[in-house]
Structures are given as structure tokens and as C-alpha cells.
């Protein structure tokens, strides 16, 4: 081993200058299928348990095992949750990528590496910590397969030593991770300790340390897909259909778990049905059928599934059938980085299907919103009798996020305008598509309603107010105009945008996970470039009036998003009055990696000439 020395306890004694406390990105480079996920979660939780705000991002390939994978853990005393571009501390476990990985560490950073990789000579500006992982775990087990897994937990121990993580918290996190699996628990605890002990020999030569804070008390850690699943559970979903696709599968798989646990009666009867459909066309078809028949029905998918749902989406819009679709966005077509994050389905989903369709979109930015918007999506779908798309993304859906616990829905479930047998008795008459209330939303009946006037014939737009077949231009135009009116009404019913800042000339507008980079970028802009911004986070389409107002009160509005073509910027341009549309400035990029603040700061400042 090249370097050997005792670890130091006094940060001021570090060779690298001032210590950096609770503010760093640790990147772990491994291969997938090697069990590193558990180790990374333990690392994340340990920091969390020490009261330090933390976020984790998994960057994984589209295969099952053996390809390079990275996990980055960011501790941020300021509570920033976005990805940080710079790597402060690298754990290099993968020979294949080690050289490139090392090249990406920021000067002054550090590298923990598997000793046989011999990376220490690669750069002079980093602290290198070689660790003989095989040797460390060799004493725990002789089983080669197990050894491979335990190497990972060992690096957690090494990091604990280097960062001064509390081993008690590491142990607690391991307990949480392996629960009742006694054998696994024991082995992993041993591996962590082996790492911790093995690292005693390393001389600390980097400034990074984690110190206990009190910024995570009461909080939970959860991924967006689980949060959305919980939302659906409490929304009272009754039919769930799906066709597996990354990154949405875990939403449904988690939901199935919750439904089995909390929605099966003592008689063994389930108050739900889950159907693994044969494909996405069937998945959405079942949801449309169920929504028509009165169930709260949903499906979850990603881009390719959204494309396949186009025809049904149009039918849902025109025949006015409630449906909830979660789109956990990823990149490109099936063979285009399916395991990378994106906000690339906004435009095509807004107008999904031929003809003049338009859909309600919701944009959760946090796991809390994954939960609350799932609930709202069902109310909106039934309230407006139309498909509602919740546009999450891989970063939000599959990564772990810190959050306040979710609030139990205060509103009772709202099932929209449905006429019962008794209503029909009272009213005498029923016209499915008659705009009785002037809001474009008409009354419906459910099949099975025991009244001779309840039935109507459902089809696309070839009908009059009584749902009778009609090809008359007047009927048809009237109906289409009502649909447009209805959608316009949704502006004030969808989640309102959230504003931050006041009185700046410049606006920033974002949605979904881009939010986290914006929070940080605004601070950077203020601090580093003296640029003040106000911020509006859009949470739904069609746009609420506040969105227009934001443009009215700002000279320029930077619309930041994670796609190539500036898709939300496009929707804004279509919706805003021309003089306001002229204020749109688009910052749109897609790299497959979650958006970081630095990129936004730099591009915005450049565009502002600062």
C-alpha cells in the first residue's frame, strides 16, 4: 500500500486547509447487480440520521447486472437536494470506469478505491485512499458471491471513518435495511466494521466531514414512486392496470404491496383489482372502461407507453371518461437511455392523440406532491370527466428523497357529477352531454343504475346532447366548443403555481424536479452574480391565471426544463398573449442526468450577459 498513517480526529489538522462540513457529494462507482444499492442506502440513511440534509441519485444502465453504475450522495447543510455536478469524494470500485471516474473529481477532492486498481498516480491534486476490500471482507466469509456483496458495505465503513460518520448510526441504518434477515444483518454489520477498522490505517488528507445537525428531525425518506403509490392508495383507487416499464414499474409494485396490506378485508375480499395488462394499449383501455363504469382507475407507464396510449387518450378526452395515468418520464425511445431521467413527454402528452385533444397534466416536484397530486388527479379526472396525466420523472420516482411526512387528505373524495337512480327519479330527464351548469362539465350515469332512463350510448364526438348519434355540424361544433370550455375551467381547479421571491425584474419558471436545481441556482445567482430572481413553479397544465400574471410582472422569464426543445416553454408560448410570450426565455437541456444548479446559474447568467 502506498500510504499508511493514523487517521486524524482534529479537522484543523487536515493538510487540505479548512474542513468542509456537511457539504459534499460522494460518488460511488460500481457495477450493477453487485448489491451496492443496499450499501448506498445505508450511507444515505446514516447521514440523514445524523440530522444532515441529504439526497441520493442512482445512475444505472439499462441492463440487469455487470455494467457501470454510479450512486451519488449529496450532503448539504443548506438543504439543497439537487444533483451537484462536482464530485468531492469518489469511491472507485469499478475497474472499467475508474480512470474516467477519477478524472471527474474536483481538485482537492478525495478518492477511496479498491487497492488493486492502483489509481493513486493518476492525479496529484487528490487525496487517494487505497483500501484492500477483498482482504477486509475475506475474514467475514469464504463465499465468493457474498464477498462481492460485502465489499460494498465495507466502503460504508471506510467512509464512516473518513467522514467521521457515527458508527452507531451506520448500525441503525443497517438494521433498518436488513430488518429481520438475521444472517444478512450480521454479515453486513461485520463488513461495515471491517471497513471502519481497515480505514483506521488511512491518513485523512481531505477536508470533508459530516457533523451531527438537527435538520432532518421528523422527516421521512422515500422515493416518488412509493409516494405516488401511497397517494393512489389514499385516493381510494379501485382498479390499477399496468405493463411493466422502467421507471414506473416500482410505482405499481409498491402500490400492490400497500393494497394487499391495507385494502383486503377480513373476509379476504379485496377492495381493488390489479391487472398486469398485456401491453399499454390494454392498460389504458381497461382504465377507460373502468372509469366509464365508475371506478377510480389508474395506470402507470413511461414514454413508450404514453405513445401507445395516444388513441385511447383521445377517446377518453372526446367521450369524456375519467382516467389517471402516471407517466414517470425517461429519455427517448425504448432503445434510447431508458434508465435516464427527462421531462421529455410534456408537449406530446398535452396534445396526446389526433384531432384537437388537450389533457390535464400535473407536475409533481417533490415526493410530497407525488402523494398529494395522486389524490388530486383522481378528483380532477372524475370532476372533469377526462384523462389526467401525472408527469413525474425517473429522478423523482426512483431516487430517495427527504421529505416532511405526508398529510392525510382533508377533503373527502369527490366523485364528480354522477346521477343516481334517485336523481333520475327526481329529474325525470337525462341528457348525457347537456351543459346544465354552464361549466362544460355534464352529468353522467354509471352502468348498472337501475332506472330505465339511465342508459346512454358512449362513443366519440358523433353525438348530440342526448348522446344520440349525430353527424350534424352544429351538434358537433357545439360539443367541441363545450369541451374547450371545460378545459378552460380546469385552469382554476388544478394545483396553483407556487411563487417565491418578490419584486425582481427577472423571473424563473420551472416544474417538476427542475425545481431543486432552481432553488439552489437562485441563491448562486444572487450570491455570485448579484442577479435577483422571482420564481414560479408551475404545477399543472392548463395553466392557471397566476402563470399569466407572473409573465405580466416580469421583464423576462427563464423557463428551465430537462428536455431538448423547451416543451413547457412551447406550451407557454401557445397560451400567453403574444406580448407576454415574447418574455419567454428557454433553458432546456437533456443529458439524462438530473438537473444541477450550476448549469442553470451559468446559462442564465450568460443569457443575462453577466
Amino acid at each position: 500500500m502506498a500510504e499508511l498513517a493514523v487517521a486524524v480526529r482534529d479537522p484543523s489538522a487536515l493538510p487540505g486547509g479548512d474542513p468542509v462540513l456537511n457539504d459534499m457529494t460522494i460518488q460511488v462507482a460500481t457495477v450493477n447487480g453487485s448489491g451496492s444499492q443496499s450499501a448506498n442506502t445505508v450511507l444515505l440513511r446514516t447521514i440523514f440520521q445524523m440530522g444532515v440534509p441529504v439526497s441520493g441519485k442512482n445512475l444505472f444502465p439499462s441492463n440487469i447486472a455487470g455494467l457501470p453504475t454510479w450512486y451519488s450522495v449529496r450532503a448539504s447543510k443548506d438543504g439543497y437536494l439537487a444533483r451537484k455536478k462536482e464530485v468531492d469524494l469518489l469511491v472507485a470500485m469499478n475497474a472499467e470506469t475508474a480512470r474516467e471516474d477519477v478524472a471527474q473529481v474536483r481538485p482537492g477532492g478525495a478518492v477511496v478505491y479498491d487497492a488493486p486498481l492502483g489509481l493513486a498516480q493518476l492525479r496529484g491534486d487528490l487525496a487517494f485512499y487505497p483500501v484492500p476490500f477483498d482482504k477486509l471482507v475475506g475474514s467475514i466469509t469464504g463465499d465468493a458471491k457474498l464477498k462481492k456483496l460485502l465489499r460494498n458495505m465495507a466502503y460504508v465503513g471506510v467512509l464512516a471513518r473518513l467522514l467521521e460518520l457515527e458508527m452507531a448510526e451506520v448500525e441503525r441504518a443497517i438494521h433498518k435495511q436488513f430488518g429481520k434477515k438475521a444472517k444478512a444483518l450480521e454479515l453486513n454489520l461485520a463488513a461495515a466494521h471491517a471497513g471502519f477498522e481497515g480505514a483506521a490505517a488511512l491518513q485523512k488528507r481531505d477536508p470533508y466531514l459530516i457533523r451531527r445537525m438537527d435538520a432532518t428531525r421528523g422527516k421521512v425518506i422515500v422515493d416518488g414512486n412509493s409516494a405516488a403509490a401511497l397517494g393512489a392508495l389514499f385516493a381510494g383507487v379501485t382498479l390499477v392496470t399496468w405493463y411493466p416499464i422502467t421507471p414506473s414499474s416500482s410505482l405499481v409494485e409498491t402500490l400492490i404491496g400497500y393494497l394487499r396490506k391495507y385494502r383486503i378485508g377480513p373476509d379476504g375480499k379485496a377492495t381493488f383489482a390489479v391487472v398486469q395488462a398485456e401491453d399499454e394499449l390494454a392498460a389504458i383501455g381497461m382504465v377507460i372502461g373502468a372509469g366509464w363504469a365508475g371506478a377510480r382507475a389508474m395506470t402507470a407507464t413511461a414514454g413508450p407507453g404514453i405513445s401507445l396510449m395516444a388513441e385511447f387518450a383521445g377517446l377518453g378526452y372526446f367521450a369524456e371518461v375519467p382516467a389517471v395515468v402516471f407517466d414517470v418520464q425517461r429519455v427517448g425511445p425504448s432503445t434510447g437511455l431508458p434508465t435516464r431521467t427527462s421531462q421529455g413527454d410534456v408537449l406530446s402528452t398535452a396534445f396526446l392523440s389526433h384531432g384537437d385533444t388537450q389533457h390535464i397534466l400535473l407536475f409533481p416536484a417533490t415526493v410530497e406532491e407525488c402523494f398529494s397530486m395522486a389524490v388530486e388527479a383522481f378528483d380532477l379526472a372524475e370532476g372533469f370527466q377526462t384523462p389526467v396525466f401525472v408527469l413525474s420523472d425517473l429522478d423523482l420516482g426512483m431516487n430517495n428523497w427527504m421529505s416532511d411526512p405526508f398529510s392525510y387528505p382533508e377533503q373527502p373524495i369527490r366523485r364528480g357529477k354522477v346521477l343516481s337512480k334517485e336523481d333520475l327519479d327526481r329529474l325525470g330527464e337525462f341528457a348525457r352531454y347537456k351543459d346544465v351548469d354552464g361549466d362544460g362539465v355534464t352529468y353522467r350515469t354509471l352502468p348498472g343504475t337501475d332506472h330505465p332512463a339511465a342508459a346512454y350510448f358512449t362513443r366519440g364526438t358523433g353525438h348530440d346532447e342526448h348522446a344520440r348519434y349525430s353527424e350534424r355540424a352544429e351538434d358537433w361544433e357545439g360539443n367541441l366548443e363545450r369541451l374547450a370550455r371545460k378545459m378552460d375551467g380546469a385552469r382554476s381547479a388544478v394545483p396553483a403555481p407556487i411563487a417565491a421571491g418578490k419584486g425582481a425584474r427577472l423571473g424563473v419558471l420551472a416544474y417538476g424536479t427542475s425545481h431543486h436545481a432552481i432553488v439552489e441556482a437562485r441563491d448562486e445567482l444572487r450570491r455570485e452574480r448579484g442577479i435577483e430572481t422571482d420564481y414560479l413553479r408551475v404545477r399543472a397544465f392548463p395553466f392557471a391565471r397566476e402563470v399569466h400574471a407572473f409573465f405580466e410582472s416580469h421583464e423576462r422569464v427563464y423557463v428551465v426544463e430537462q428536455n431538448r426543445d423547451g416543451q413547457l416553454a412551447a406550451l407557454l408560448k401557445l397560451d400567453l398573449a403574444p406580448e407576454l410570450a415574447a418574455r419567454v426565455r428557454s433553458i432546456a437541456h437533456i443529458t439524462g442526468l438530473p438537473l444541477d444548479a450550476r448549469s442553470v446559474t451559468e446559462e442564465l447568467a450568460m443569457m443575462e450577459g453577466r
Partner: protein, 346 residues
């Protein structure tokens, strides 16, 4: 024998008249086989005393798929997308398991664009009556071949079909449907009994009903014309249906009939016309269909029936009440559950 359409009584056992089962005036061509099937549906529903409000009709796109407008006006109906009726019906019938599902499709709607959803519906044994109004062509788009057109069948334009037909009955049997029959829109008696039995069965009923398209596929050279089917029809059995609310009277010599007890207590009696054919044997049914196909026979009758298999609704352990109308208390877990979950995530 109860299955021959009897002289229509004024009202049925729930006090409705046949008028209560009618639909709008058909807009299909005069003489279209689909119209005859609509009439048989009206009769069967009337005679079984089904409450029309309890029926949900589903269809895809095509002349056949329009026909739900022409019967049972008092039933909800969903005219969906081309080839996608199965999924819509599945969703709706899971949402409300108390509905009697009746799907009407065409051979194009089912065997061409819809074959994927068809296959998977059959696998699930969803309780539904799935009718293919099979004319071997796309009627509504003016007469192109569908995937049930027989090899060598010709269009009026002289174009010859060079592909093997898909035998939807053989498929359905193999895939898991539990009541599979083939009939002919022109065979009132057989179709009537078959539809009654279909209503009584719980599980997927798949009926392929040859239904000639008089406008585009009723000429010489077509194997789905009235003339051709009449000539090549090979009925497997003589069907009689005895509803649960009626008594059975006639007795047959042993071995000449197969008696099938259906879910609602009614009985389907099949008087064998073909030695040794037992519609409870899957392998035999498929074999016989393949042979018939090779011999250009149109084998009609109840091809396969299995009254013991679990239906999709049973497998999902659904409650008796419709999912669609469960109250909030049943579907939104209490606050304590959320607390519990949050605690676990801390």
C-alpha cells in the same frame, strides 16, 4: 324442449315486454347477418328475463360494432376503439362485477387489429359474452379481407385470399375461454339456445357467429356467404336450453345427449349429432376444429364448455358489491394507516 323460440309471451318473468329489449332502428344494410343476431340477442335477453339495466354492452369499430345501438336501448353501451373492446370491457366489468357484459365485435375488429387483446381476454376467463359477427371482411371499410377469410376465398373484384384463416374458436378454447361456440346468423334455433346458455354461463363465452355481409361478401367464391354456410354447415349437436326457472320434460336415450349444468342452475342439453363428441374435452375440440377446417366444413354448435374453471373476477377476490361504488370508508384507509407508513419511512 325449451330452446326453440316460443311464441313470444306478452311479458317475461320480470314483467317486461320484448319492446323493453329493443334498440334503435338499424342503419346496417338490409339483409346483413348482424341484424339477425341483434334480434336473437333481444329475444334471448327477453326470455331469460334479464333486467336490461344490468347489461353493459361493449363493441369495437365496424358494422358489427355498431349493432349494440340496435338492441337493448335501456342498457349502457360503450362503442370503443377498433380492436380494443376487450380491454374496455375488462375494465368496466371489473369496476362493476354485477353487470352482465356483452361484447360485440367483428372478424376484423377481433382477428386482425384486435387479436392481441382477444388472446389475453380469453386467457383471463373474464365473465363476458364475446360475440364475433364474422363475415370474413371489413364491412364498414367496404369489403377488404379480414383474418378469418378462408384460403382461396375471393372478393368481388376477383382478389383471392392467400392466407390461412385464424380459427377464433380453436384459439379461444386453447387460451382459456370456458364456453366456446360457433353458429350462423341464419340459424335461429341454434343461436337462440346458444345465447341463452351464454347468458347463464359465468366466465368467458366466445361465440363466433358467421354473419354474411350481403353488400361485400355474399357472392359466389365467398366462403362466408349465406349459400356457402348453409351448404357446409356441420352442426355438432341439437341444442336445447332449459332455464333455471323452467322444468325439464323430454328424456333422451342415454349416450345420445350431453347435459351441461350451468352456473345459474339452468341446463344446456346437447343432443349429439356427431358420434362421440363431448364438448367438455379441450383437446378433442381443437382437433375436431382443425379437421373440420381441413375439410372445409363449418362446424357449428357448442364446441367447448367448462363450468368449473374460476373466472377472472373470482381470482381477483373481488367483493360482491361493485368496486365502482364502494363508499369512501371502504377505499380510503384511516389516518392511522398513513401514520404507520410514515413511521416506517422515518
Amino acid at each position: 324442449m325449451a330452446s326453440a323460440p316460443p311464441a313470444t309471451p306478452r311479458t317475461n318473468r320480470i314483467g317486461l315486454s320484448v319492446l323493453d329489449y329493443r334498440g334503435l332502428k338499424t342503419t346496417l344494410c338490409a339483409g346483413c347477418g348482424h341484424n339477425a343476431i341483434s334480434e336473437r340477442i333481444v329475444e334471448a335477453m327477453f326470455e331469460m328475463g334479464v333486467r336490461p339495466e344490468r347489461v353493459a354492452k361493449f363493441s369495437g369499430i365496424g358494422c358489427s360494432s355498431k349493432s349494440p345501438a340496435y338492441f337493448l336501448s335501456r342498457s349502457h353501451s360503450f362503442n370503443a376503439l377498433h380492436g380494443r373492446m376487450p380491454s374496455v370491457a375488462t375494465g368496466a366489468l371489473l369496476a362493476n362485477r354485477t353487470l352482465i357484459g356483452l361484447g360485440v365485435s367483428g372478424d376484423g375488429d377481433t382477428a386482425s387489429i384486435g387479436i392481441g387483446q382477444f388472446v389475453h381476454l380469453m386467457r383471463r376467463n373474464l365473465p363476458i359474452i364475446y360475440i364475433i359477427e364474422d363475415n370474413g371482411v371489413y364491412g364498414l371499410t367496404k369489403g377488404q379481407f379480414s383474418a378469418t377469410a378462408d384460403l382461396g376465398s375471393t372478393l368481388k373484384t376477383g382478389i383471392v385470399n392467400e392466407l390461412l384463416p385464424i380459427d377464433t374458436c380453436a384459439l379461444a378454447i386453447q387460451l382459456g375461454a370456458t364456453f366456446v361456440g360457433r353458429s350462423f346468423s341464419g340459424d335461429k334455433k341454434q343461436l337462440h339456445a346458444m345465447l341463452q346458455a351464454a347468458i347463464a354461463h359465468r366466465g368467458t363465452v366466445m361465440l363466433d357467429i358467421i354473419s354474411p355481409c350481403v353488400t361485400f361478401n355474399d357472392h359466389e367464391g365467398s366462403t362466408k356467404s349465406y349459400a356457402y354456410v348453409k351448404e357446409h354447415d356441420e352442426p355438432l349437436q341439437e341444442l336445447s336450453f332449459v332455464p333455471s326457472f323452467e322444468d325439464i320434460s323430454v328424456e333422451y336415450a342415454p349416450g345420445t345427449t350431453v347435459d351441461v349444468a350451468l352456473h345459474d342452475g339452468s341446463r344446456l342439453r346437447l343432443r349429439k349429432l356427431e358420434e362421440g363428441y363431448d364438448p367438455r374435452e379441450k383437446v378433442v375440440a381443437v382437433r375436431r376444429l382443425m379437421e373440420a377446417h381441413a375439410q372445409s366444413e363449418v362446424l357449428t354448435g357448442v364446441l367447448y364448455v367448462d363450468t368449473s374453471a374460476e373466472s377472472f373476477v373470482d381470482r381477483l377476490h373481488l367483493p360482491d358489491r361493485p368496486l365502482a361504488t364502494l363508499p369512501q370508508e371502504a377505499v380510503r384507509p384511516p389516518r392511522a394507516v398513513l401514520d404507520e407508513v410514515m413511521e416506517a419511512l422515518r
